[in-house]
Symmetry: C2
């Protein structure tokens, strides 16, 4: 079984269409490369009870949970409060973060900014020596900022701890439509029930109509499934395999 993950995107700006979320796709792509199966993404409003409910539920259901957004100094930054409520703990001011902020900001440190030193009680800090603010980890929940550039830098700095056995993937570009190959796909799953099999029709491509993806953590199983699928297709049915 692959390790599993859930992603929680927090922000009215995404739901109201003001911002296009690119963080969930980043997490999905990176985690897949690490061999981790993302099972679900939820995008929710900046509301403490909603955040608490989703975080607590995802934390139970998945090995890792990643949140994005809602950790700045303003009124709509309530992710930390939400996580604390979800786990039934208090919000505390973390002395290490506060000390770091005092060093960096000096007299410019105010109450609003100090909110960014808040963590759920029991949280640990990752990359505590990095030049930027640390990543807050609460149980199996990793708390990231919403700004994509910062989120990506921070994820890359800790990602190796999530690595699991890799996925092996083959893409088969098929000249026939889904209506024709659906039977072959069903037959393939009967023979290879553990195969992860995807079928994605493509419009406006003259050279193929469907991209079929075959995937497994067992490389030999994948090779056998690929051979069986290729053999089942009509001659000249394949544009290419990569």
């Amino acid at each position: 079984m692959a390790k599993t993950a859930g992603i929680i995107i927090i922000g009215n700006e995404v739901l109201s269409g003001k911002t296009q979320d690119i963080n969930s796709h980043f997490f999905c792509t990176e985690l897949r490369q690490l061999g981790v199966e993302v099972r679900e993404i939820t995008t929710i409003q900046d509301e403490i009870p909603l955040i608490g409910k989703e975080v607590a539920e995802f934390s139970e259901r998945f090995d890792f949970v990643f949140t994005s957004g809602g950790i700045g100094p303003t009124h709509d930054d309530v992710t930390i409060e939400g996580i604390a409520q979800g786990f039934g703990v208090k919000v505390i001011r973390h002395p290490d973060i506060e000390a770091r902020m005092r060093r960096r900001l000096g007299a410019d440190l105010n109450e609003a900014r100090l909110r960014m030193a808040n963590v759920p009680e029991g949280a640990t800090l990752l990359c505590a020596d990095a030049p930027f603010a640390p990543i807050v980890q609460m149980r199996n929940v990793y708390v990231f900022p919403g700004i994509p550039k910062i989120l990506q830098e921070r994820f890359h700095s800790i990602k190796e701890q999530f690595r699991d056995a890799p996925y092996y993937l083959k893409n088969v570009y098929v000249r026939h439509g889904e209506g024709i190959i659906a039977t072959m796909l069903n037959d393939l799953l009967v023979k290879f029930p553990q195969l992860m099999l995807g079928s994605y029709p493509v419009l406006d491509r003259p050279d193929y109509k469907v991209k079929v993806t075959l995937e497994s953590k067992d490389q030999q199983y994948l090779t056998q499934a690929l051979e069986a699928f290729v053999a089942s297709l009509p001659k000249d049915g394949i544009q290419r395999i990569d």
Copy 2:
């Protein structure tokens, strides 16, 4: 109260990072312009019980539910079965869709393709005379295909039925950082508790640091809130308003 909506993105291809979902952002943008409040997006795997659970829950919680993906002829297209399970009804073959497919495909119609004529019992068809397949509506759930071009065309053909009172929006581009203006934002919400207020820090812009969004369905209330916010900022604090 605005009408509310929930969006359900169905597809392993999104969760495994193979495809970047652009449909949820399309729905969020369009629905906001129609005056509808999107409350939540969930992205889930192609599994019947998961789809059923989410659809039934969203249908209870929101005025409108939009699904994307999982309605083709192949093994991983299980959205219709999921919706039927969620509402506790059977899947039936819709005679109008089947007749249309027989006219168009003739001898090329096979069992796999006929799956696309399946609907949950009790569903109605929208745009039944359009050149493409109709949109299936089951109670307050609207079922869309995952291919963005088709999804967008079909949404535009039915969107007027969702129109509600419009949102009014003002964007204020502020030269000071969030740590400085957080207090003004909090004060503003004390005076204007019904205001929808967003604060989005921007990196790498020389001319402003935060985009503040003020939004309301009451245009006069928005105007008063904007005046109060502008008056609360330091002189020369605003780069522009639009």
